[in-house]
Every structure is written in structure tokens, then in C-alpha cells.
């Protein structure tokens, strides 16, 4: 890892900030994060940077909202080339790096967002839904209490259900659901299974089985 090796893989040493990410980080969202930062920090003087990065961010926002279209990736690359070639200063000329390198190494994630409205890392809120697996739910009511918008219905011994319209996808239920039950699941790219009928009794999972 030195100046020249990093340049070869399409990155740069920069000041030396290094973030180690894993499969729980969405590369499209990371590219969007950098472009949001650059849109705010562009001085706005020259057109390729001010207008080019703004349009790239619009496309990335669409992709993360589940409205990506065929040709978005090609458009991102076309914009990137002009922003890199024509911008007045290094902010503009290096701005497309995060987009180009995430497309280069993680194109499958872009395509999953665009073609299947699926976010493999489960980060993009618009493409994720939270679902309580009726088989696992033991009606401990923790998620019901913690949900900030009261989107979870259920009661003592009653299988809990998330009202998909109310749910703001904040992820609290997933955080608080006890590990031994692990009833809350994060789904992406596939429809939420139909909720069990109102008042379905909990299926007691024997202590031994857990």
C-alpha cells in the first residue's frame, strides 16, 4: 500500500483515512454518501462540478430509492468522465472516484438495486422491509414497546405483526428482539409474506429446541 499502488486500483492515498467495510455496508449508499458530501462542499463556481455532481447524486438517490433505471450506470460513467476532465480543481476531478471504483468492483450491487429493487447489504431503507417470522415470535412484546411509531401489533401470547405502512424502517425492532428468538428479519428484494391472521397464538418453542 503506497501512493502508486493505490493509484493503480483507481483510488488515491489522500490524507490517509481508511475505512474497513463488510457485507453490511451498501456500496451504492457509500458512493451516494460521498457525492452528498461533495455536493455540499463544492464551491459551485464551475459547471462540470456544480451541475455534474448534482446530477450524479440525483441518479444515485433514485437507485437507492428503488427507482433506478437501465442505463443509469452508463449515465453515471458518462457524467464522471466530464466531471473528471473538465472541473477546475481537484475536488471536481477526484469527486467521481468513489462512484467509478464502486461500479468497477461492486457492479453486482448496483444491478441488484436497479433490476431487483434489492439492497444486498440491507441498508437502503426504501428497499428494505422488516418482518416478524410467526414461527419464531414468542410475544415478549419488547419490540412492540420499543417501536418509536407504534407500528407493531400483538399482545400476550399473540404473534406480533409489523404494519408495513406505519413502519419507518428505523430498525429498532431488529436491534431489541432477543437473540434467542431472532424473530425479526430484514428482507430486501422480495415481497413481505402475508401477515398471519389476527390473534394467532404463539408457537411455544421448547427450551431444549432453542
Amino acid at each position: 500500500m503506497d501512493f502508486d499502488e493505490l493509484a493503480k486500483v483507481g483510488s488515491m492515498m489522500g490524507s490517509g483515512g481508511m475505512i474497513v467495510m463488510d457485507e453490511d455496508d451498501c456500496m451504492v449508499d457509500v458512493a451516494r454518501y460521498f457525492l452528498t458530501f461533495l455536493t455540499e462542499e463544492s464551491c459551485g463556481k464551475c459547471i462540470p462540478c456544480r451541475e455534474g455532481i448534482r446530477q450524479m447524486l440525483t441518479i444515485l438517490n433514485r437507485i437507492c430509492e428503488g427507482e433506478g433505471k437501465e442505463g443509469d450506470i452508463v449515465m453515471l460513467e458518462e457524467l464522471s468522465e466530464v466531471v473528471q476532465d473538465a472541473s477546475l480543481c481537484a475536488l471536481g476531478t477526484t469527486a467521481p472516484n468513489p462512484v467509478l471504483s464502486t461500479i468497477r468492483y461492486f457492479k453486482d450491487e448496483y444491478e441488484a438495486h436497479i433490476r431487483e429493487s434489492r439492497c444486498p447489504a440491507g441498508v437502503c431503507k426504501a428497499l428494505v422491509s422488516y418482518y416478524i417470522n410467526p414461527e419464531q415470535c414468542q410475544a415478549c412484546q419488547i419490540c412492540l414497546r420499543e417501536c418509536p411509531v407504534g407500528a407493531i401489533m400483538g399482545g400476550k401470547n399473540i404473534v406480533h405483526v409489523i404494519d408495513q405502512d406505519k413502519c419507518t424502517k428505523c430498525g429498532t425492532c431488529l436491534d431489541v428482539c432477543p437473540i434467542r428468538f431472532a424473530a425479526v428479519e430484514k428482507l430486501s428484494g422480495r415481497p413481505v409474506p402475508a401477515a398471519p391472521p389476527q390473534g394467532t397464538k404463539v408457537r411455544r418453542v421448547k427450551k431444549a429446541q432453542q
Partner: protein, 152 residues
């Protein structure tokens, strides 16, 4: 209002009316008054011989400056890369709900201003919220409410 104008003269004197210290003077005025009142900018323009258009461009270019009074309490959420992947967007949503403010806005009673910043340098604590210089790492919804509540 006259208080603002008097300490402007002191600040100008401190920098011997040097035009290139304009940004340093604005920073001091912002720190003392928590905003840049119009008459103060007009006074600076007149005393330093700098066009008012240049002063307004600077005052609206830099994030540190505000042309309306800032809240007594400043709440900042770090959106640096590390905090982002550690869940800063979710923290920001919670803080926005608690304060009923969007980033950059000040509450009508001028009690709170919500800001976003990039990389405060304590990523291991991330996601980080700072209230009046006090750091809070990975605050839960309850903790956020508690901290906001006991800001007088």
C-alpha cells in the same frame, strides 16, 4: 444592537484593520454574538473598505457563519465516513425527530440549532452527537431525549 457595533470596532482594531483578516474577524464576531447582524457587516465593509458583496459572499459561503441568531445550544451530529457506516443517518433521524429541526435550522425560540459536521476525530465512538462541546457516542433514543431535556 449598539453592543454589537462597539465590539466590532475592538475586533477591527485588534487586527489593525487588515483586510486579509476579514474571515478571522467574522469568526470572532460569530463566536461572541452567535450570528452576524447586518449592521455589523455594513460597519465592517465601511471600515475595512471591502465591498459589501464580498462580505456577503463570504458570510454565506462558510458553514461557521450564520445570518440569523443561532440557538443557545448547538447540537451537532457527525456525518464523517466512519460515523456514516456506523449508523449516523439513523442517529440523525432520531435527533431530528427529538428536536423537530432539520440540519442547519434553529428552533423558533432560538434555544436549539441542529448542525451536521464531518469527522470530529473520535470515530471509535461513532456515531457521535455533540451537545455544547460534550460528546455522546452511540446514544440511544432515550439518552438523546434525556440530554436534550436537561438543556435549560
Amino acid at each position: 444592537m449598539t453592543k454589537n457595533l462597539s465590539n466590532v470596532n475592538q475586533i477591527i482594531a485588534k487586527y489593525q484593520g487588515d483586510q486579509s483578516a476579514l474571515i478571522q474577524m467574522l469568526l470572532e464576531i460569530q463566536r461572541e454574538n452567535r450570528w452576524l447582524p447586518k449592521p455589523v457587516l455594513a460597519r465592517l465593509s465601511q471600515k475595512l473598505g471591502i465591498p459589501i458583496s464580498q462580505i456577503y459572499h463570504i458570510a454565506t459561503f462558510y458553514k461557521a457563519f450564520s445570518l440569523i441568531p443561532q440557538g443557545r445550544h448547538t447540537v451537532s451530529v457527525c456525518l464523517g465516513t466512519a460515523c456514516h457506516v456506523r449508523g449516523a443517518p439513523r442517529l440523525l433521524d432520531r435527533v431530528t425527530d427529538t428536536l423537530k429541526l432539520n440540519p442547519g435550522e434553529t428552533s423558533v425560540d432560538y434555544k436549539f440549532t441542529l448542525k451536521t459536521v464531518n469527522c470530529l476525530g473520535c470515530c471509535a465512538l461513532g456515531p457521535v452527537m455533540v451537545v455544547d462541546g460534550e460528546y455522546y457516542g452511540k446514544p440511544s433514543a432515550k439518552e438523546i431525549e434525556k440530554v436534550i431535556a436537561n438543556c435549560d
